[in-house]
């Protein structure tokens, strides 16, 4: 039936890409339907915010310069001179924070719904790695504007790493690219932020999503138990279009929240970092609020 409707161009692509197999796969994919189903949206929301991070990050790369003498000025240029630069930077910063929030909600939903159980352990572990990578994205990206608070936050952060037993000192040296936070740290954090971490995140994301496809979506034990007792199957919702469209609405809502936050509370830039100035009184990340 499907093949009858296909156009010549559709056929051409089908023969080369095997789209029918993908179509079949999507047609058979389902999502369990129960009272906790809404929690399933948060993985998708995290993914959506990650994609937005990539897109806005690429945009910022058009103007950003990763050297101590130019980094702050280039961000200043972005937010003051480039059209909608303030908005793009604000979306990048707010989306980063919302992504961490969505990732934590996703993680806690997996914990409380006990979706990490047997056969899905690697999905859980790859998710933990992705959360670690997301935090590393945040830590490395925080330094890039090269302002006072990001400079001192990186000094504090790398100093905390130095207090780890055995590996602390070499790790801090590796992170700073030397004895102290400076130009070498900025270059290195930029490299981590735009090359190393995106590469790793893509790999683990593919693994994570592949595993979700392989094992399907888990149902909470109490739902499984209830249906076993009643001798019924857990009701399922087709992934496409039913779940997909709902997920799309969730993304749309997330975009609305993100756009509002970015427009109403644009991210501040504060003062340029000065390695020979004392940390100012009241320095704390809230400076950005």
């Amino acid at each position: 039936m499907m093949s009858e409707r296909k156009s010549g161009l559709g056929n051409w692509f089908d023969e080369r890409l095997g789209l029918d197999a993908i179509r079949q796969f999507i047609a058979h994919k389902t999502v369990p339907l129960h009272s906790a189903t809404p929690w399933y949206y948060f993985g998708g929301i995290t993914l959506f915010l990650f994609v937005l991070q990539v897109l806005t990050g690429v945009l910022l790369l058009l103007y950003y310069r990763p050297t101590p003498s130019e980094a702050y000025e280039s961000v200043q240029f972005i937010v003051t001179r480039v059209q909608f630069g303030w908005l793009v930077r604000s979306i990048h910063s707010w989306s980063a924070n919302l992504m961490i929030l969505a990732a934590f909600i996703h993680m806690f939903s997996v914990v409380f719904l006990r979706s990490y159980r047997k056969s899905r352990e690697l999905t859980w572990l790859s998710g933990v790695v992705l959360l670690g990578l997301a935090l590393a994205f945040g830590f490395s990206g925080y330094l890039l504007p090269w302002n006072t608070v990001s400079y001192f936050a990186t000094k504090v952060g790398t100093d905390m790493a130095a207090s780890l037993p055995w590996i602390g000192e070499p790790l801090a040296r590796f992170l700073r690219g030397g004895e102290d936070v400076g130009g070498a740290t900025l270059t290195r954090f930029f490299g981590f932020h735009v090359a190393v971490l995106p590469g790793l995140a893509t790999l683990f994301l593919l693994l994570h999503l592949g595993l979700v496809q392989r094992h399907g979506i888990s149902s909470p034990p109490r739902v499984e138990e209830e249906h076993r007792r009643r001798g019924t199957a857990i009701p399922q919702m087709p992934f496409f279009p039913n779940f997909f469209l709902r997920e799309l609405m969730a993304w749309y809502a997330a975009l609305g929240v993100l756009g509002s936050l970015a427009a109403i509370f644009p991210w501040e830039l504060c003062d340029k970092a000065d390695p020979f100035a004392s940390a100012p009184a009241g320095i704390r990340p809230e400076c950005y609020q």
Partner: protein, 186 residues
Amino acid sequence: MLATLQLRCLKKGFLETRKAHLTFNLGSSEGQARLRLTWRDLCRKNAVRCCDGCWEGGFTASVLSFVYPAIKFMNPPAIPEASTNEVSAGKVDGFKPNSGRIVKFGSRPALLIRVNESEWRAYSGICTHLNCTVQFQESTRQIWCACHNGYYDLNGKVVSGPPPRPLEEYAVRIRGEEIVITRQTG
């Protein structure tokens, strides 16, 4: 394109739900009730169609409100460049006769040549072919562009190679010991 695709999917899902709803209503009615339902359905259909349009428009507009800034962002802002008309190129003693050097003329390079004891020439240092920076060749006493082997004479005229136009000439004046290069107007 993605937005249109999403819209189509959304609309399809919505229409299917609506169709199922109508079938259910009509199926359970009879006679006059059916007529009334049909009339009501007609009204609803129009309302839904109108609502559909608003919704589609709103959705597209809201998505575009994010795409538009992204496109504008990519367009580099015009930075007003202070136009340079006169620069000091150094001291007379710094140049031997039959020598030339690239000097800064605002944000662009200029080629200053000391032809002999008293004669000076200055040109834009940018080759008219494809924007490379030219140099003075002492052996041939010509201006040479290394990129595509273009030659200009000491008047800035093309001698050989691909350059399509002569180099822009600047005026050189000596103020005491100082060499001053000026853009020629008119």
